[in-house]
C-alpha cells in the first residue's frame, strides 16, 4: 500500500478507535448500542496488532524468517510438523478458548459494562497478547519446551517448581469452579439435564461411526452429532413437560455434583475413548459454531446495552461477588484479558507446528485477540439484559433472599427494578421453573444470548430453544474440560510420583491410575462440594480464587519472559513485559491480601471463618469454617510461591544488568531454514 494512503487509513482507524472508546468510556444515562463496543474492540485490536505487536517482533524478539523452527528441524509427522499458519492459528485458538472468556466478563458485568470492556481491551493488547506471543516465540526457539522447563532453565529450580505447582493448583481450582458452573446451570432444570444426558448416547454413536463405519471422518460425524444435539434440545422441552421424565431429570445441586464427580473419575480412570473423544469433537464443533454465530448475531442485530456503564457495586458491595473494582474486576476477567493458562498452550502443542518464526506474531498475538473478542461478546450478552434481571439471575439467595418477593424487593431497592412476575414470565419463556439464584454466569450468558437471537431468528417463540442451546453449549464444553483436565492433572501427578516410586509413574499401572484419579477428583470435588454448600453461592469464593491462581501463573510466565529479554540484552525494552508483570503483581497480591485478611466477611476468607465460628456450632458451619480457612491457606501458599519466583527473577536480572554474570539464553542453535520463502 502506498505510504501516504497507509498513514491516512491507519490515522482514520486511530480516530475511530478514539471516538468509539470515548463513547464507551464517557457516555452516561441513556443505554448505548453494542456496536460501540464492537467498533472500539475492532479498532483497538487492529492498532495493537499493526503497531504494538510489530514493534515487539522487530525490536525485542527480532523474528528471523531464515531461522528453522522445531517443526522443520525435528519434523516427525506427529508432534513436530510444519503447518499452514492459518491452520495453526485455528488450532491454537480452539485450544485457548474455553468457558473463561464467557464466564468472567458476565460476572464482572456487576460493575457495569465499562470496567470489563476497558480491561479486556487494554489487558489483551498490552498484556495477554504480549504474553502469548513472547512465550510462543521463546518456546519455538527452545525446541517447543514447556513453560515449566523454560522457568527451570532461565530462572532456576524454584521457577520450575512453582510453575509446576501453580499449574496443578490452577487445574484443581479450575475444575472445581467450572463443575460448579455446570451444576448451577443444570440444577432443577430437567430440560438442560436431559439435553446434556443425551449427549452421552450421541457421543457413543459418533464413536461407533468413527471406529467401525467411516474411520477418521470426524467432520462429517461431528456435523451429524450437532444435528442430533439440536434434536436433543428440542426433545428436552418434551422431557421437561412429561411428568415422569421431568421427575427423573429434575436434580438438586448436590446430586448433580456427585454425578459430575463420578463422571470425572470414570473419564480419568477408565478407557472410555468411545465416549470422550467423540464428545470432545462435538464440543469443539459446537463451540466454534456458536462463537461464530454469536459474533454474526451481535454485529447483525446490534442490540442495546441496558446495564449502566458503572454500577453502585464498584464500591465492593456487589451481590455476584464481593470486592472493589480494584483488584477484583481484574482477577474476575482473566481469559479475555490475560490468562496464565495460555502460556501452557503457547509452550505446548503450538510451537511444534509453527513453520516460520515470523508466524508467531499472528498465531500468538492474533489468537489472543480473537479470544479477547469472545470476552467482548460475553460482556454484550450480559449487558443486553435489564440490570434487575441480570442481578436476579446472578445473585445468591444468601444475599438477596430465599423467596422471589424478597429477591426482587432487595434488587429493586438497589435501583434496578425487577418484579417477581417479570422473572416468572422470563423463566417460562426460556423453559425453566425459575431463574433466581442461578449463579455462575452461564445461565445469565444463556439468557443474554437467547435475548439477542430472539430479536430475529424465530422471535420470542423460540427463546427457550436458544436458551437451552446456550446452556448445552457451555455445559458440553465445560464437561469436556473437566474430563481432559482431570486426565492432564492425573498424568502430572503420576509423573511427579514416579520420581518417588517408579511404578506410580506408569500410566498403564491400574493401582496408580485409580489412586491418582481419585486424588485429583477428590481435590476438585472438594471445591465443587464447597461451592454447592456455600450459602453465598460458591462463585463468590471460588471464582476469585481461580482468578488469583490463573493470574499468578501469568506472573510466572511474565517473569520467564522478562528474564529471557534481559538475558537477550534487550533490557531497554523490558517494559513490554515488565509493566504487565508489575500490574499483575499489584492486582494479584492486593486481591490475595483481601481474600485472606479483609475484615469484611463477604470478602475475606478468615473473616468469614470467624463469623461462622462465632455462630452456634453445627456440623455444616464447622465444615464452612474449615473451607474458608483452607481457601485462605491455598491463596497464601500460592502468593508465597510466586514471591519466590519474583525474588529469583529479580536476582537474575540484577546479576546480568550489573555485569556480575554473563547472560546466556538456552536457545537451540541457529539452523537456516530450507523452507521456500512463499511458505511464510
Amino acid at each position: 500500500m502506498n505510504k501516504t494512503v497507509s498513514i491516512f487509513a491507519w490515522g482514520a482507524v486511530g480516530l475511530l478507535a478514539a471516538a468509539a472508546v470515548g463513547v464507551v468510556a464517557v457516555h452516561r444515562g441513556e443505554p448505548i448500542n453494542a456496536l460501540w463496543l464492537v467498533v472500539a474492540a475492532a479498532c483497538c485490536y487492529a492498532l495493537g496488532y499493526r503497531f504494538y505487536s510489530k514493534f515487539i517482533a522487530a525490536k525485542i524478539l527480532a523474528l528471523d524468517p531464515l531461522r528453522a523452527t522445531p517443526a522443520e528441524r525435528l519434523e516427525n509427522g506427529r508432534d513436530f510438523l510444519v503447518t499452514n499458519k492459518w491452520v495453526v492459528f485455528g488450532h491454537h485458538f480452539a485450544a485457548i478458548a474455553g468457558p473463561g472468556p464467557l464466564v468472567g466478563p458476565v460476572l464482572a458485568a456487576q460493575f457495569g459494562y465499562l470496567p470489563g470492556t476497558m480491561w479486556v481491551l487494554a489487558g489483551a493488547v498490552f498484556a495477554g497478547c504480549v504474553q502469548d506471543f513472547v512465550i510462543l516465540l521463546f518456546s519455538v526457539r527452545r525446541d517447543g519446551k514447556s513453560l515449566t522447563e523454560m522457568a527451570q532453565e532461565e530462572i532456576g529450580r524454584v521457577g520450575g517448581f512453582v510453575a509446576y505447582t501453580a499449574v496443578i493448583a490452577i487445574l484443581v481450582i479450575l475444575l472445581g469452579v467450572v463443575a460448579l458452573i455446570v451444576v448451577n446451570a443444570l440444577k432443577d432444570s430437567p430440560w438442560g439435564t436431559f439435553t446434556i444426558a443425551m449427549t452421552i448416547p450421541i457421543a457413543l454413536l459418533m464413536g461407533l461411526y468413527l471406529r467401525r463405519i467411516r474411520p477418521g471422518k470426524v467432520l462429517e460425524i461431528s456435523a451429524l452429532g450437532f444435528i442430533l444435539v439440536l434434536l436433543a434440545i428440542w426433545g428436552g422441552q418434551w422431557a421437561s413437560q412429561h411428568p415422569a421424565m421431568a421427575g427423573v431429570f429434575t436434580l438438586r445441586a448436590p446430586t448433580l455434583a456427585i454425578l459430575i464427580m463420578g463422571y470425572g473419575f470414570s473419564a480419568s480412570a477408565l478407557p472410555v475413548w468411545l465416549l470422550l473423544a467423540p464428545r470432545d469433537y462435538l464440543s469443539t464443533f459446537v463451540k466454534l459454531g456458536t462463537i461464530g454465530l454469536l459474533a454474526v448475531g451481535i454485529v447483525a442485530l446490534h442490540p442495546t446495552l441496558h446495564m449502566p456503564a458503572l454500577t453502585r457495586f464498584v464500591d465492593g458491595s456487589g451481590p455476584v461477588f464481593a470486592g472493589k473494582i480494584f483488584p477484583f474486576a481484574f482477577i474476575t476477567i482473566a481469559c479475555g484479558a490475560i490468562s496464565g493458562f495460555h502460556a501452557l498452550i503457547s509452550s505446548g502443542t503450538t510451537p511444534k507446528l509453527i513453520a516460520r518464526e515470523t508466524q508467531t506474531r499472528m498465531v500468538g498475538y492474533g489468537a489472543m485477540m480473537a479470544e479477547s473478542a469472545v470476552a467482548v461478546m460475553a460482556i454484550i450478552a450480559a449487558c443486553v439484559l435489564q440490570p434487575g434481571v441480570y442481578f436476579a439471575i446472578n445473585s445468591p439467595a444468601g444475599v438477596v433472599g430465599e423467596t422471589a418477593a424478597a429477591a426482587t424487593a432487595t434488587i429493586s431497592s438497589w435501583g434496578f427494578p425487577v418484579t417477581a412476575a417479570a422473572m416468572q414470565t422470563l423463566a417460562q419463556a426460556v423453559g425453566e421453573q425459575t431463574l433466581f439464584n442461578r449463579t455462575g454466569g452461564a445461565p445469565a450468558f444463556a439468557v443474554g444470548m437467547a435475548h439477542i437471537f430472539s430479536q430475529s431468528l424465530g422471535g420470542a417463540a423460540v427463546m427457550a430453544l436458544w436458551y437451552h442451546f446456550a446452556v448445552m453449549f457451555e455445559a458440553l464444553f465445560i464437561l469436556t474440560i473437566l474430563d481432559a483436565g482431570t486426565r492432564v492433572a492425573r498424568f502430572m501427578i503420576q509423573d511427579a510420583l514416579g520420581h518417588i516410586y517408579k511404578p506410580l509413574g506408569r500410566t498403564s499401572w491400574y493401582p496408580s491410575i485409580l489412586a491418582t484419579s481419585a486424588l485429583i477428583v477428590a481435590a476438585w470435588g472438594f471445591f465443587l462440594w464447597q461451592g454447592v454448600k456455600d450459602p453465598l453461592g460458591g462463585i463468590n469464593s471460588l471464582w476469585p480464587l481461580f482468578g488469583i491462581a490463573n493470574q499468578l501463573l501469568a506472573t510466572v510466565a511474565l517473569c520467564v519472559a522478562t528474564t529471557i529479554i534481559v538475558k537477550m540484552y534487550r533490557a531497554r525494552y523490558a517494559a513490554v513485559t515488565l509493566v504487565p508483570l508489575a500490574w499483575l503483581v499489584a492486582v494479584t497480591f492486593t486481591a490475595s491480601w483481601h481474600k485472606v485478611l479483609d475484615p469484611n466477611p463477604r470478602v475475606g476468607f478468615l473473616a468469614q471463618a470467624r463469623v461462622l465460628a462465632a455462630a452456634p456450632a453445627t456440623r455444616a458451619s464447622a465444615q464452612l469454617v474449615f473451607n474458608n480457612r483452607l481457601d485462605a491457606a491455598v491463596t497464601a501458599v500460592l502468593v508465597v510461591m510466586v514471591t519466590l519466583v519474583l525474588i529469583e527473577s529479580v536476582r537474575q536480572w540484577n546479576l546480568v544488568l550489573s555485569g556480575r554474570e554473563q547472560a546466556s539464553v538456552k536457545e537451540s542453535p541457529f539452523v537456516k531454514t530450507r523452507l521456500a520463502e512463499d511458505r511464510g
Binding site: G77, R78, D79, L81, T83, N84, W86, V87, F89, G90, H91, A94, A95, I96, A97, G98, P99, G100, V167, L171, L174, V178, L210, R211, R212, P215, G216, K217, V218, L219, S222, W273, A277, Y281, T284, F285, L288, A334, C335, S339, F341, H342, L344, I345, G348, T349, I481, A484, G485, R487, V488, F491, F546, N550
Partner: protein
Amino acid sequence: MNRLSKAGRILLATLREIFDENAYERFLRRTQMASSPKAYGAFRQELEEAKTRRPRCC
C-alpha cells in the same frame, strides 16, 4: 473467486487439523497402513497418549 476458494480450502484444512483428520492421514502415511477400523484404533491409541497430556485452557 480465487481468493474465496483459497479461503475455503484453508478453512477446511483448519477444521481438518482441529478435528484430527489430517493427523489420521499423516498416521496412515507414516505407518503405510490403509484406512480401516484397526488402523483407526491404532491411531486413536497413539493420539490419546499425546493428547491427554496436553492442557486445555479455561
